[in-house]
């Protein structure tokens, strides 16, 4: 009994300075951290922030086309993929601006196809109508473009001069438009034309993020040694 009393006194003496210190600081002892990770707070009661596709909101700087080429591409896009049946067209989907972004990073033969094709089409407009392409009526654009339309199978676009540009541009203006957010989120679907949805594979333990980021100070030397493919060929 006496021993138990002695131990109780000893403990209270040992605890006293700590209790007094706590009182001096105006704080209670901290409770143990809850055994719940912060990520558990991300749940249906806390929906994730919603974001918007940047090119629906912002204007991108031209990276590839000249202003004149862009005006002509916009004219061509409006004729080839107009807004129809309640669905947005290429202009509403910002397709010309997207193609400028895509082509800025594309291989040289692809860039040449578009830049050369637009310049050729503009020269045809000048020859026939003494106007730039962007100033032509729909019928006038049709008269320049339709003779070059061909049917073709995927991966095998026409190879004859001018038909190559016209048909590849048409194909890509359509794809960029039907895969846009503006198109996908507008009700009403023409036959067989849905915005593409699929399983996206993230980079799988790739070390190429360094290369793609173009942060040269982060590029590992052995990766920096890798160069672009030898010979570009057509592929979207």
């Amino acid at each position: 009994m006496q021993r138990r009393k002695f131990v109780r006194i000893l403990l209270s003496v040992a605890a006293a300075p700590r209790m007094l210190f706590g009182q001096q600081q105006g704080k209670q002892p901290l409770p143990a951290a809850a055994p719940v990770p912060w990520s558990a707070g991300i749940n249906p009661r806390t929906p994730l922030p919603t974001t918007e596709a940047a090119d629906l909101v912002a204007i991108a700087d031209l990276k590839f086309f000249t202003p004149a080429q862009m005006r002509n591409l916009q004219r061509l896009s409006r004729v080839m993929m107009p807004a129809l049946n309640g669905k947005p067209g290429a202009i509403e989907a910002n397709t010309p601006e997207f193609l400028d972004f895509l082509l800025a990073g594309s291989l040289p033969d692809r860039q040449k196809l578009y830049a050369g094709g637009l310049d050729w089409l503009n020269s045809e407009a000048q020859k026939k109508y003494k106007l730039d392409l962007f100033a032509l009526t729909d019928d006038q654009v049709d008269s320049l473009v339709k003779p070059w339309l061909r049917t073709w199978m995927s991966d095998n676009p026409p190879t004859e001069a001018h038909a190559d540009f016209v048909n590849i541009a048409l194909d890509e203006i359509r794809m960029a438009t039907t895969n846009s957010k503006a198109w996908s989120q507008t009700p009403g679907t023409p036959a067989g034309e849905w915005g593409q949805t699929d399983v996206y594979w993230t980079p799988i333990e790739s070390n190429l993020a360094f290369v793609l980021s173009k942060q040269s100070h982060l590029v590992q030397p052995h990766v920096a040694a890798a160069q672009a493919p030898a010979t570009p060929i057509y592929k979207r």
Binding site: L84, L102, M153, D155, D198, V199, Y200, A230, I233
Partner: protein
């Protein structure tokens, strides 16, 4: 562990490597498998997305995989990045080298068409005088094909045609629609055979080494695997001159490492195995390592519309697929080309490809609406002849991301292939029109070599070691403990998807290797 000498080193984890690992570990051999890429987990690495949520709206990320026509932005990251592992060719000879370095390799993504070669391929020279016969016949491979077909659950219909040997099939689950019936009737009048597709059903829609072969090997506890191990060269014992392992580099850290093994099996895919042999300066007393690169011509074909299916009438009339097997140069002789081709056929009740119509704007939308649900397609698969001049070699300058010399590919299609494509398109059009279909578009120009992803040859097998690299057991003539078990050993390409043959050859060679090991012959 670090000093362990394995019985067998297997480079590559696709169908060929997976089969070797299964057979050899089950026979008691300790195996080390090296794979140049990571393990992919569709649940971890895949996420369903809209194209508009991706930076390039579904287009190829520029320059990442410009030669992989099969790639989209959705799957661009599963293919080998051409900036990381480049290759070269002359601009006049474009080549599409389509590669996957994930564990399981291309076995994760193949079309699953499953055919045996026939003796028209194994003994092609005896039939038409071109090239070389294989050192084996269908009879030699028949029991292995049967076991492979069982593992891969191949479905099909037995027809008894010598140019398309029957197999150990499960029941064909495919739809056989009215449009296919019409096509078959029209083709029969021209003596052209048509049958259902032969396809590996695998398990849960996957017919890969990852789900059908490697799990069996792992069960034995005899398989050790390393991911992201990029093999630089095969090492050689200085005393015996025999391969004794390899040097490899860790893909991420660049750490150089070595492993030892008594036997080396290359199964890295036709051109990677050959690149490794060339970089290691092995197995080439014949001078033929890299020679006789072959594949199949793809890309030529036609697209039709079945008029009665338009306007929402596709039900029962459309859907399903079929195949026209080789029919040229079997009993007759074509004046314009040797060997033959097959045609894949598929009937589609979905939307039409806009490229079927030379139109845009409202006119195009109207045509697509009118023709919707009526698509009928023919696609060519034609044999490419094995020619000495079609070859690969080591590029003297270009290297990959780890400083390993890159491959230079020099191959061309010739008039034999171009004439074959023209014949196929003309024949398809004739059959389609006889069936009452409207032909909307035609293409006679094959895609660049390599596109079919069926590259074979470059280490061909044969009995004469001056004319071949491997013997009939996929074993190097020069080094008895070195085997090449992928498509590199093919003596001819055939029109058939090579996967079943690669699997059967790998099974046969691995069983032979296991037997010889027991007898202490290797």
């Amino acid at each position: 562990m670090a000093n362990e000498v394995f019985d067998v080193l297997i480079v590559g984890s696709g169908h060929a490597g997976g089969m070797a690992a299964k057979v050899l570990t089950e026979a008691g051999a300790s195996c080390l498998m090296l794979n140049a890429g990571p393990v992919a987990d569709a649940n971890r690495n895949g996420e369903r997305k809209h194209a508009y949520d991706l930076p390039y709206r579904g287009f190829h990320p520029p320059q990442q995989v410009p030669h992989v026509f099969q790639a989209t932005e959705f799957n661009a990251n599963v293919w080998v990045d051409e900036r990381e592992v480049p290759y070269t060719y002359d601009p006049s000879q474009p080549y599409n080298w389509v590669r996957v370095r994930l564990f399981g390799g291309r076995s994760l993504f193949w079309s699953r068409q499953s055919f045996r070669l026939s003796d028209y391929e194994f003994k092609g020279k005896s039939h038409d005088g071109f090239g070389e016969d294989w050192p084996i016949s269908l009879a030699d491979l028949d029991p292995y094909y049967s076991r492979v077909e069982d593992i891969f659950q191949v479905s099909g219909k037995k027809e008894g045609w010598p140019q398309m040997p029957d197999g150990n099939f499960i029941e064909d689950p495919d739809v056989w629609s009215g449009s296919l019936d019409r096509l078959k009737t029209a083709a029969a009048k021209l003596n052209i055979p048509v049958t259902g597709q032969r396809r590996a059903n695998g398990r849960d829609g996957l017919a890969s080494s990852v789900n059908l072969l490697l799990p069996d090997a792992e069960k034995t506890k005899k398989l050790t695997s390393i991911a992201n191990a990029v093999v630089r060269e095969i090492s050689v014992d200085k005393n015996t001159g025999l391969p004794d392992g390899c040097h490899f580099v860790d893909r991420f850290t660049g750490r150089e490492m070595s492993v030892k093994a008594r036997i080396v099996v290359l199964a890295a895919g036709t051109l990677e195995s050959t690149r490794l042999l060339l970089n290691s300066k092995l197995a080439n007393s014949s001078g033929l390592v890299g020679r006789y690169l072959m594949d199949q011509i793809y890309g030529a074909g036609i697209t039709c519309s079945v008029p009665e299916a338009r306007g929402g009438n596709a039900k029962g009339l459309m859907g399903g697929g079929a195949i026209i097997p080789r029919f040229r140069n079997i009993t007759d002789k074509s004046p314009n080309f040797l060997r033959g081709y097959a045609m894949n056929i598929w009937s589609s009740g979905g939307g039409m490809d806009a490229r079927c119509f030379a139109a845009y704007g409202a006119e195009l939308e109207q045509k697509m609406a009118d023709y919707s649900g009526s698509g009928f397609h023919f696609g060519l698969m034609g044999e490419v002849l094995g020619r000495y001049e079609n070859h690969v070699r080591i590029d003297p300058v270009k290297t990959d991301a780890w400083g390993i010399p890159a491959l230079h590919i020099a191959t061309n299609y010739t008039d034999n292939e171009f004439n074959m494509a023209k014949d196929a398109v003309a024949t398809a059009s004739q059959v389609a029109e006889a069936a009452g279909f409207e032909v909307l578009r035609k293409n006679v120009m094959p895609n660049p070599p390599g596109y079919s992803i069926h590259e074979v040859g470059t280490c061909r097998m044969g009995d004469d070691q001056k004319k071949s690299v491997l013997n009939k057991w996929n074993q190097s003539h020069d080094h008895k403990n070195l085997f090449v078990m992928d498509g590199a050993g093919f003596t001819s390409a055939g029109w058939q998807n090579p996967t079943m043959t690669i699997l059967a050859l790998s099974m046969r060679a691995s069983e032979h290797l296991a037997e010889e090991r027991k007898k202490l012959n290797i």
